[in-house]
């Protein structure tokens, strides 16, 4: 069988985000099992392990599942990812950190077993800036942008890119850290109220998101000018602020809503059959879709690997090869019942990061829905490429890693 560990977190401070993602990830595989009998005839076994967003538990989960022939890890935590990169590499198991984790892992030359397609944090940062450029007719010189970020490895990721971009485009960047868990942000928002930046970008997770949206509403910061990273753009992040959150934006690398044929299958084979991973009430939410998307990409990589190696019960090593040769096309997605769900792209040995296309979502408080307001657009490869090369180069030097390709 095909073993997919799911290092999920359904408890702890970040459960609200962990639950829908884990549900989506699990439900897609359940659907494949129910509908197709697995992938290429090989049944799928999902091994869920609760991490509580805690690195030690993550290690325990990794160690206890890797022996079962785990094909790919998707830990949904930057901390655990950093943990697993060396271990999994040594064990020859691939890791997929979709839109999180170590950005410079996009360099497949150094990080042979780590993949972060289709987009990473630096794409995200650049995507935000591009969007602002676009809405300002290409000129944001002299504009003030405040970055409210989670004071952790995760939150610090975009800073360097944004700094580079601010040099390039002449905007003024002000970074405001918020400590875990982020319940108290009065100081940061008073400062924003004083400084009156033109835009506020938020890089948050967990309760920090709700509080930020609420505080922004409190100081009546115009929501149109408030943009979150893709981890700050789920329904629960904005719901508690009510109408005041209307117009808040967040970037994304995949589509939203449940308007895709695949959801009919999910409903039929999973939810209605009583096999949903969670309560079944998350279907179609932003993070559910992201989990679903991650599962779909994994399943496609399995198919690729099966084709490459001519076996159905693939090994982690073969899975890695499959991921490296993964190609997602419009036709493929349409065939899966997910037309235009995400960008089409192709992974290569050098580039584990995918195309880095970034779209923008906007929240409509009246209908309580997110909708895509800007298509998936390319990001500043020049700046990002240089940064990736620099950071991965340092890692390679420190750990004496030979080029992989």
């Amino acid at each position: 069988d095909l073993v997919f560990p799911s290092l999920s977190y359904r408890t702890g401070p970040y459960a609200a985000g962990g639950i829908p993602f884990a549900d989506g990830y699990a439900d897609y595989f359940t659907m494949l099992n129910e509908r197709d009998g697995g992938i290429g005839g090989e049944p799928i076994r999902l091994v869920e392990c609760e991490t509580g967003y805690n690195t030690e538990k993550g290690v325990e989960c990794y160690e206890s599942t890797k022996g079962e022939g785990a094909l790919v890890y998707q830990p949904l935590s930057t901390g655990i990812t950093y943990q697993l990169i060396p271990k999994a590499t040594a064990d020859g198991i691939p890791i997929h950190t979709m839109g999180y984790g170590r950005t410079s892992a996009a360099n497949g030359n150094v990080f042979s077993n780590v993949f972060n397609y289709p987009a990473n944090y630096w794409n995200g940062a650049s995507g935000v800036v591009n969007y602002l450029l676009e809405s300002n007719g290409g000129d944001i010189n002299g504009k003030k942008i405040a970055l409210v970020y989670h004071n952790s490895a995760y939150g610090k990721e975009p800073i360097r890119t944004l700094e580079e971009l601010s040099k390039k485009h002449g905007f003024e960047l002000k970074a405001l850290p918020v400590d875990h868990p982020g319940q108290e942000q009065k100081s940061q928002w008073l400062q924003i109220r004083r400084d009156r930046p033109d835009y506020v970008v938020i890089w948050g997770w967990g309760v920090m998101n709700q509080v930020a949206v609420q505080e922004a509403a409190n100081i009546r910061f115009p929501m149109e000018n408030f943009i979150g990273v893709w981890w700050s753009g789920a329904e629960h992040d904005v719901l508690s602020a009510g109408d005041a959150a209307n117009g808040y934006k967040a970037i994304t690398f995949h589509n939203v809503g449940s308007d895709f044929p695949v959801f009919d299958d999910i409903k039929k084979h999973v939810v209605d059959a009583g096999k949903a991973a969670g309560a079944g009430d998350q279907v179609g939410t932003v993070l559910y879709n992201r989990g679903l998307y991650a599962a779909m990409l994994a399943a496609e990589a399995v198919k690729t690997a099966q084709d490459m190696h001519g076996v159905t019960d693939i090994t982690p090593q073969q899975m890695r090869d499959g991921m490296e040769a993964l190609e997602i096309t419009e036709e493929k997605m349409a065939a899966l019942g997910m037309p235009n769900f995400g960008p089409s792209f192709k992974v290569s040995c050098e580039n584990h990061g995918g195309p880095g296309l970034v779209g923008v979502n906007q929240w409509d408080a009246a209908s309580k829905t997110w909708s895509l307001i800007s298509d998936f657009k390319p990001t500043d490869g020049e700046v990002i490429g240089a940064l990736v090369a620099e950071d991965s180069g340092a890692y390679a030097a420190e750990n004496k890693i030979e080029p992989n390709c």
Binding site: C49, E56, V59, T78, Q83, H180
Partner: protein, 358 residues
């Protein structure tokens, strides 16, 4: 009956001062040591090492450290996480600055540096006592974490602020990094734990230990009969932090390999180690082992039983795990407020009297 000490005579005070004055205990101790050093390394695999033994060994070191401060010297500290972070970052800086020096030295030095920091943050204990001190040590906890997060020098200017343990060795055997064999990491930590336990035992049975306990039990009386409170408390902070620093260094370098300070060495860690000490038994070295084992193993066992064997949803298992751990803590306290160590002592006393009830 089952547990004998009759016929076990001591003819000198030196003998009476032994760590295990009772022969039966002594043999059991030798057996455990032989098993741990000579048998386990051949059996151990990645899972046992990384998921169970390493955390157990390392937490046991931290628990011994905190037990010295809290259990023996009576100074409740919630800064353990912060001090572990000092050990980890000191070790990291040393490892990257002197790649050719043995890991053994690095870890010891990391402990030493932590001891200095510990003394610094221990100073307020001269005036502040009890729970006030406990809360005051949180200042150290939060400040240290903030500092390591804030000052890029500590994490060698890496983009994310994470630190990663590069590959290092002891006498050519790789100890850190992903290629370290399970048995080597296990033995490395075991050696440190053994050393720490021996030192702790020696200190606590001698003058230093008695000074600590005197301060703990009644600080005013202690001062009046001649204990210099400043010195006693500061040595406790130093020794305790030394151990905690070692555990932090091992935690980072050998166990996790990569660390994000706020997440790994946050306040939760301080609480966790404190729980270990209290559940195990304040003022007992054996208790530190028991507490660490209990809190490392219990969640794993519950997870294995609930999720793997019974196949319940992981979230329900995780919640039940909280419920059960919480309930067990309470039940233990009601049964025996002085921890597993005391439970063990009472059991021994009962065995000694067996089959008579008193």
């Amino acid at each position: 009956m089952f547990y004998r000490e009759a016929g076990d005579f001591k003819i000198s005070y030196t003998q009476d001062n032994q760590t295990f004055p009772i022969r039966f205990d002594r043999y059991r101790y030798y057996a455990v040591m032989i098993f741990a050093f000579a048998v386990v390394p051949f059996l151990i695999n990645d899972y046992w090492a990384n998921a169970i033994m390493l955390p157990f060994l390392i937490y046991a070191i931290a628990a011994i450290g905190l037990n010295i401060l809290t259990g023996y010297c009576g100074q409740v500290s919630l800064g353990t996480g912060g001090f572990m972070a000092v050990g980890a970052y000191a070790c990291y800086k040393l490892m990257t600055a002197f790649p050719d020096v043995s890991m053994f030295i690095h870890v010891l030095l990391a402990g030493g540096i932590t001891a200095l920091v510990g003394v610094l943050f221990g100073l307020p204990s001269l005036r502040i006592k009890g729970f006030y001190l406990a809360v005051a040590t949180l200042a150290a906890q939060f400040f240290l974490v903030w500092l390591f997060n804030r000052v890029p020098w500590f994490y060698n200017y890496s983009a994310s602020g994470q630190i990663n343990a590069p590959e290092r060795d002891v006498f050519g055997i790789i100890i850190t990094g992903p290629n370290a064999p399970a048995w080597a990491t296990y033995l490395f930590c075991l050696i440190f734990l053994t050393l720490c336990a021996l030192i702790a035992r020696n200190l606590t049975r001698g003058t230093v230990g008695r000074k600590w306990m005197a301060i703990r039990d009644m600080d005013i009386a202690a001062e009046i009969i001649g204990v210099n409170p400043l010195k006693a408390k500061m040595t406790a902070f130093a020794v305790s932090s030394f151990f905690v620093g070692i555990s932090g260094a091992l935690f980072f370098a050998v166990y996790l390999g990569a660390v994000e300070v706020g997440e790994v060495f946050g306040i939760q860690k301080s609480f966790l180690v404190l729980f270990m000490v209290i559940i195990g038994g304040l003022g007992s070295i054996f208790g530190s082992f028991a507490g660490a084992a209990f809190l490392v193993l219990l969640p794993v066992v519950l997870k294995v039983v609930g999720a793997d064997m019974l196949g319940w949803p992981t979230d329900i298992v995780a919640h039940l795990q909280l419920v059960i751990v919480g309930a067990l803590i309470i039940v233990f306290l009601i049964m025996e407020p002085h921890g597993l160590a005391q439970l063990w002592r009472v059991a021994k006393e009962k065995l000694r009297l067996w089959p008579f009830p008193h």
